[in-house]
Symmetry: C2
Subunit: 194 residues, 2 copies
């Protein structure tokens, strides 16, 4: 399992991990299984782990007064799941994250992260790269959210993350796109007609 993580890290940083670093990572990261529907975090928790997805799928969402889920992020293999703000700053998270499928993750505690990893240059670099990429993507999603029609949002997602359509049902995709499942259903019908 740890191999997947090593490979992921190597693909993001400028020089490959040394044997020592790999050894350290293997000791610190713990494998964990989540059953379908099991929570990784719940609203109100402080996020005490960072989690790397080895296998499976998760969703991050809020629940409003009427009980409706608003999905903010979807995670599949090779993604990092968690609320980074809560993890870094220690504030309670407003989000739920749960497994959409049976899922295998590698987790690291906040303490190990701070005490054993923070000093390593490759972690700083990795963290930088990931945070930056996250921020670029969020900027694009915000712009799309404010300017595109429902149909354009769907097209854009099909271009950006086509794999989501294999992994998640339509009502999940709809929520991620900020629309209802009915709207998504109607749009799909309309655009296959073309």
């Amino acid at each position: 399992m740890i191999d997947t993580l090593i490979e992921h890290i190597n693909s993001k940083i400028s020089k490959p991990l040394t044997e020592n670093e790999i050894q350290l990572l293997s000791e610190i990261f713990q494998p964990k299984k989540l059953r379908k529907h099991q929570y990784l975090i719940q609203s109100g928790d402080v996020c005490k782990h960072a989690a790397f997805v080895v296998k499976g799928a998760l969703k991050k969402y809020t629940i409003d007064q009427t009980g409706k889920e608003n999905i903010l992020e979807l995670y599949i293999e090779n993604w990092w799941a968690g609320d980074k703000e809560s993890f870094m700053i220690g504030t309670p998270t407003p989000y739920y994250i749960d497994a959409y499928d049976d899922t295998e993750i590698l987790i690291i505690t906040k303490e190990d992260f701070t005490n054993k990893l923070t000093k390593l240059p490759f972690i700083t670099e990795l963290n930088n790269v990931l945070t930056e990429r996250q921020s670029f993507q969020l900027m694009k999603r915000l712009h799309s959210s404010q300017t595109l029609t429902a149909e354009q949002k769907l097209e854009q997602l099909q271009d950006t993350y086509p794999e989501f359509f294999q992994r998640f049902p339509q009502h999940i995709i709809a929520s991620y796109l900020g629309m209802t499942k009915e709207t998504l259903s109607r749009i799909r019908k309309a655009s296959t007609r073309k």
Copy 2:
């Protein structure tokens, strides 16, 4: 002018800048004035400078087929203006940034940034802190964009950045919030009535 920048940096990093570092920053950052309406960058440009706002106000936006401006970010004193993705990766920016008022900025070229600053630990830390904060804010804005009513978006902005209402006219605020100026006008009327 450079004092404002020094103070800003000191407020974000863990140990104060040394005399040498301050000296270096003074040499590298160049003051520049922008007239009201003057562009800092235009769509298609590669963003070759990072800019720190000392005085004034700017907006970052796209222009759609019908000529409508969609404002993504507003910048005032002590903010960094620019397209970080374009600056970092060298891709052409899709955005325009222009001065909403007469504005004074401090700019640094990509070359100086890469060659003279990248190695300094405080720059890495600053960059981290700013990128992370940006990413947290974008997550919240995306969530708001997808879940709040126009009225709730207004209230939230009044709580988060009350200073914007002193610095920008309503049609700018409306665009930043992803609504039309007419909607904003009607909402304000309705909520003062309460």
